[in-house]
């Protein structure tokens, strides 16, 4: 069984520890690709993003995407962690780590995972502003849909 770890949590995560868990004691892993998504503040006016999720479905959907990624790219391991709750600029939001015998599968697996996670995993971001006002819900981007759609052929 290929190890697939999925967690939805409010706490922060540790990239190096999670990566070690996927590679420790294994001689067949030749490539590890990781992605960490951070909360960013382009305009300088953001105090936090609040991430709402659909409990139960969020884990189930990420797991479904992960199982597809493992079989499609022949991954040796996959870890996906997504945080919820209030997250300040500079803090970590999401982690994906894919391991494989060779680099291309690991790159593709992590990339596929993020493209589907962004468009299919039930999470929503709301902005909180530094002036104390509650900002808008972040809008879904067509570019994210196009990034996902390039995997469909």
């Amino acid at each position: 069984m290929t190890p697939l770890t999925v967690r939805v949590q409010s706490e922060d995560f540790d990239l190096s520890g999670e990566s070690r868990t996927l590679t420790e004691g294994r001689a067949d892993v030749g490539a590890v690709v990781s992605f960490v998504g951070l909360c960013r503040d382009e305009a300088g006016s953001l105090s936090a993003l609040e991430l709402e999720h659909y409990p139960g479905m969020a884990e189930a959907e990420i797991r479904r995407i992960g199982e597809t990624a493992i079989s499609r790219f022949g991954l040796l391991g996959l870890t996906a962690i997504h945080r919820h709750g209030k997250i300040a600029p500079g803090e970590q939001i999401v982690l994906v780590i894919a391991t494989a015998p060779h680099r291309q599968a690991a790159f593709d697996g992590a990339n596929f995972m993020m493209d589907y996670l962004k468009t299919s995993a039930p999470f929503w971001k709301k902005e909180h502003r530094k002036d104390g006002s509650s900002g808008d819900w972040v809008s879904a981007k067509d570019a994210d849909d196009r990034a996902r759609d390039r995997w469909m052929d």
């Binding site: 998504g37 991430l51 709402e52 999720h53 659909y54 139960g56 479905m57 189930a60 959907e61 997504h82 939001i93 999401v94 993020m114 996670l117 962004k118 468009t119 299919s120 995993a121 039930p122 999470f123 929503w124 971001k125 709301k126 819900w137 972040v138 809008s139 879904a140 994210d144």
Partner: protein, 84 residues
């Protein structure tokens, strides 16, 4: 009775996160459900006035609007997702 759960601005506009409702027999698909809910009051109408912007999950799996809802235990309605 079916359990309905709402998220993000759909939840905010309707003014609650979940409820249990008895649905009339003519409500057969996810799309019918959105159209029916929109008749239940101003807050529902406001949340659901653009049905194409509403995503639906039945028993915690994504479905299209033409999906039959017969036998559903839980139906989620929410905007396009913005995680990651």
């Amino acid at each position: 009775m079916v359990k309905l759960v709402y998220f993000a601005w759909v939840r905010e506009r309707i003014g609650k996160g979940e409820e249990e409702l008895e649905l009339p027999p003519e409500v057969k698909t996810a799309g019918d459900l959105i159209a029916h809910l929109a008749t239940l009051g101003e807050e529902y109408e406001n949340a659901l006035q653009f049905p194409k912007a509403i995503r639906v999950a039945i028993n915690q799996e994504h479905v299209e609007h033409d999906e039959p809802i017969a036998g559903a235990r839980e139906i989620g309605l929410f905007p396009p997702m913005t995680g990651g």
